[in-house]
Amino acid sequence: MKQASSYLDFLRQEFDVGRLFDKPEPLKGVRVLEVCYVVLGPAACDYLGEFGAEVIKFEGQKGDQMRFVTPYAFLWKNMSPGLEIENHNKYWVGMHMGHPGAKEIFLDLVKRADVVVDNLTPGRLATWGMSYRELREINPRIIQLHVSGYGSWGPWTGRTSYDGGAQGMGALAHITGFEDRGPIKSGVWIADWVTGLMCAIGILAALNYRERTGEGQFIDYMQVENVIRWLDWTWLFTAKTDENRKRSGNRDLAICPSDLFPCSDGWVGLAAFSVDEFRGLCQAMGKMDLFEKFPDPTVRLKDENARQILQAIEAWTRGKKVEEVEELANRLGFAASRVLSANDVYSSEHFRERGTIQQYDDALYGDMVQQCYPPRLSATPARLKWSCRPLGFDNEYVFNKILGLPQTLVKSLEEEGIIFKWDPGIPSHCPPADWDGVSGKKLA
């Protein structure tokens, strides 16, 4: 399929990354209070933040754990990359949520907020008098989402859940790995990220409903159940066969061929399920006999047939370069792609042109190049404004500007220990060592 050039011109104009900041944001005017830590809850809010929501993040005195979760214990300008990845465009508050003096302030903010998200132990907000029960009394339009491993009620409510544990408890780990080897954890905190995404979808659905009716609501979301939801045909297969789905490496048990193959210079992911696609592949391989033997996709899926087909493809790819296979796929209409690493994407013209990778000048950290959340919206695109911030960095802005407290009162809150800033003795709390004391401050 060759796109018409007028279609491509139209798209280039619609999605021109040079005009990102000249377009509106879809979630402008939505204020989110984030009482979250680690990856899942902050990610859910981050997705909303890059599409224009104003996210105010509350941190305790020790700081979000991700300030200490960083590859090889590496810090960059005092910043933990582990904290950076799920925190953009946010306003950073240090506040002791359990302090009796914090409640009134928080509830005052709730009156002016749209969404409250927490991923604390279920019921923790309730012990502070800040659960949905109390919030809806003062703001019936409020949407409150709580996310935890096992939810707010049920035999396992209260059990701690980390990403790696959730992958295991939801059986994703059981089906990931090679056929004759053990289960493998995802290379990333996948159960955090994708659960956060589903939380954001739930919040958007609730916002859409509120737009129609004026009514807010409470959402109880479960991380492990989310993993279960994402396992495609696993559960019907279990019910119908009484067998556990097996690990099958990169081979897809429901699409044939679909697998990862070795080339002379790297790996290629390849798939060709429909009759036409498989014909194209066999043509590329110069093995029309394979096509004539297995034109029917369903017949190809039988275990012994699949193994025979995959072997034949592997014998072919071994003698090819990745790029040669990709070119044949482009020409003959099957799917083939190399395995991209971070550096490939980082320097890719394609991803820059699409706004997938964006570059911006951060007031604290300087030149930043990183991914911006999809999908690409033509009229209201996502954008990166600033990166993560030191603990309590935006206290003044939030309490003085948004809440309207006089500066003297903000000062006394600080003296009472209700609100606070970074601990100079803990590097990953702090601004870069050479910070001028002003740059990046929103109400300096």
Binding site: G165, A173, D232, L301, A335, L340, L377
Partner: protein
């Protein structure tokens, strides 16, 4: 429901009871739906990204019309080992939920005309064809926005609609494996590249066992659609939502991109190790595998006490040593020397006993790696209605995962029916939206359009 089951291990029993009352699954069908004013046309083809996107919207109340070619979507045939229940495989029956199924050959002139009329009434169109295909038929966003300016048009494809790679590879179909391959995460998932005990033939990139590329793509698509919908409710304006599933994975590839920007280095494949948090791994035990975590200094001290190895704490005293790739295989194998003596449940008992000690040094977390067969039997998931079981008039006994939006207090997600046979809703939908009766439909059927 028994109070003990509701309260479980809750720190605040009263909260658990309140949350149960707010989100009791028994009440789902008495409550309204969040998106029941939306009409979605899903004309996706051979892609579970499209199907998952429309599943999520349908669970939340949107009316979804699935448009398939007259022979049915090839996605119906994507089923493990080729096993089918009548016209559909296990995957399609799982994601056919709540959708009306009609057939239409959009590639035929008459079919395109009918599609255009239908899309004129829709709030959302989802498609997964090769980029530019719908445009070439005269029914892409450019043409539809003229008759329906509020339309949210969401094409989903591995290479996206535009950009250098879309131009180069636009003739490729959309598949999960290519989306995972382009999504960066695959490059760092798989058996450890640095563990000497891993045989070299397993040192290669590994996909997630499920269709992670497609499911992430579908979820991002519905996220984008709902953001666009919110904007439309305020402004009346529609837009183009270009969803490329690999970007959905790139976006969540942890700090791979950030670390490259900051250090110029790539992260290696870690296997079950983790170079930012460790121990945080899967270890062997007597009856399978268990997850175990004890990372920060206090938690590591606690873990060393649990396994009776104070010497390990002394050997790897700070996170710097524990995050060193050279040390992780040894730490792993030392922990396994303990865990392989117990079953996963025994380990949970040991850790729970330790966690109740007043003098515990920190927090240790363990969790069994469950098989699917174990998951479906757990009381917690049964009580929370995580699965949906029905005796479908056409497909018979079906057991699939329920909506994960069930616990929205005001507008819970739900499954109303599982799947529908190919073209089963032609009469109803064509009559309802286009006033096309049987006589006309029969004519179109003979022409192969419907």
């Amino acid at each position: 429901m028994d109070d003990k089951k509701i309260v479980g291990l809750a720190a605040d029993a009263e909260y658990a009871r309140w949350a149960y009352r707010e989100t009791n699954p028994e009440d789902i069908f008495k409550k309204p739906e969040a998106l029941d004013d939306m009409l979605v046309i899903d004309v996706s083809s051979g892609s579970y990204a499209g199907l998952f996107a429309s599943s999520l919207l349908s669970e939340l109340g949107a009316e979804v019309i699935r448009v398939e070619p007259p022979g049915g979507d090839i996605a119906r045939k994507m089923s493990p080992y080729g096993v089918m229940i009548k016209d559909s495989g296990f995957a399609y029956i799982t994601e056919g939920r709540n959708k009306f199924h009609i057939t239409l050959d959009v590639g035929a002139k008459e079919g395109a005309k009918i599609f255009k009329r239908l899309a004129g009434k829709a709030g959302v169109v989802i498609e997964t064809f090769k980029p530019g295909y719908m445009d070439s038929l005269g029914i892409g966003y450019r043409q539809l926005k003229g008759i329906n300016p509020g339309l949210i048009y969401c094409p989903i494809h591995a290479y996206g609609q535009f950009g250098k790679d879309a131009e180069r590879c636009g003739n490729q179909p959309d598949y999960d494996i290519t989306s995972q391959a382009r999504g960066v995460i695959m490059s760092i998932t798989g058996e450890s590249g640095l563990d000497p005990e891993v045989p070299s033939e397993y040192k290669r990139p590994l996909k997630h066992g499920n269709w992670m590329g497609w499911y992430a793509g579908g979820a991002w698509a519905s996220f984008g659609i709902l953001a666009a919908m919110y904007h439309k409710r305020k402004t009346g304006k529609g837009q183009l939502v270009d969803c490329s599933p690999p970007e959905g994975l790139i976006a969540i590839s942890d700090y791979a991109m950030q670390y490259y920007h900051m250090s110029g280095d790539l992260m290696p494949r870690a296997g079950n190790y983790d170079y930012a948090v460790f121990p945080y791994t899967y270890v062997k035990c007597k009856d399978g595998y268990t997850f175990i975590a004890g990372f920060t200094d206090p938690n590591w001290a606690a873990l060393c006490e649990v396994i009776g190895r104070p010497d390990l704490r002394a050997q790897y005293p700070t996170t710097r040593e524990r995050l060193d790739p050279k040390n992780q295989p040894d730490i792993q194998h030392q922990i396994e020397a303990f865990t392989t003596r117990y079953s996963a449940d025994e380990l949970l008992g040991i850790v729970n006993a330790y966690m109740s000690r007043p003098d515990r040094k920190g927090t240790v977390v363990v969790g069994r790696l469950e098989t699917p067969g174990e998951v479906v039997q757990r009381e917690h998931w049964q009580d929370r209605k995580t699965f949906f079981e029905t005796d479908d008039p056409y497909y018979g006994e079906v057991f699939i995962q329920n909506s994960s939006f069930k616990a929205m207090s005001r507008t819970p997600g739900r499954i109303k029916w599982v799947c529908r046979p190919i073209g089963a809703d032609n009469d109803f939908i064509y009559q309802k939206y286009l006033g096309m009766g049987n006589t006309l439909l029969n004519k179109l059927c003979k022409a192969g359009v419907v």
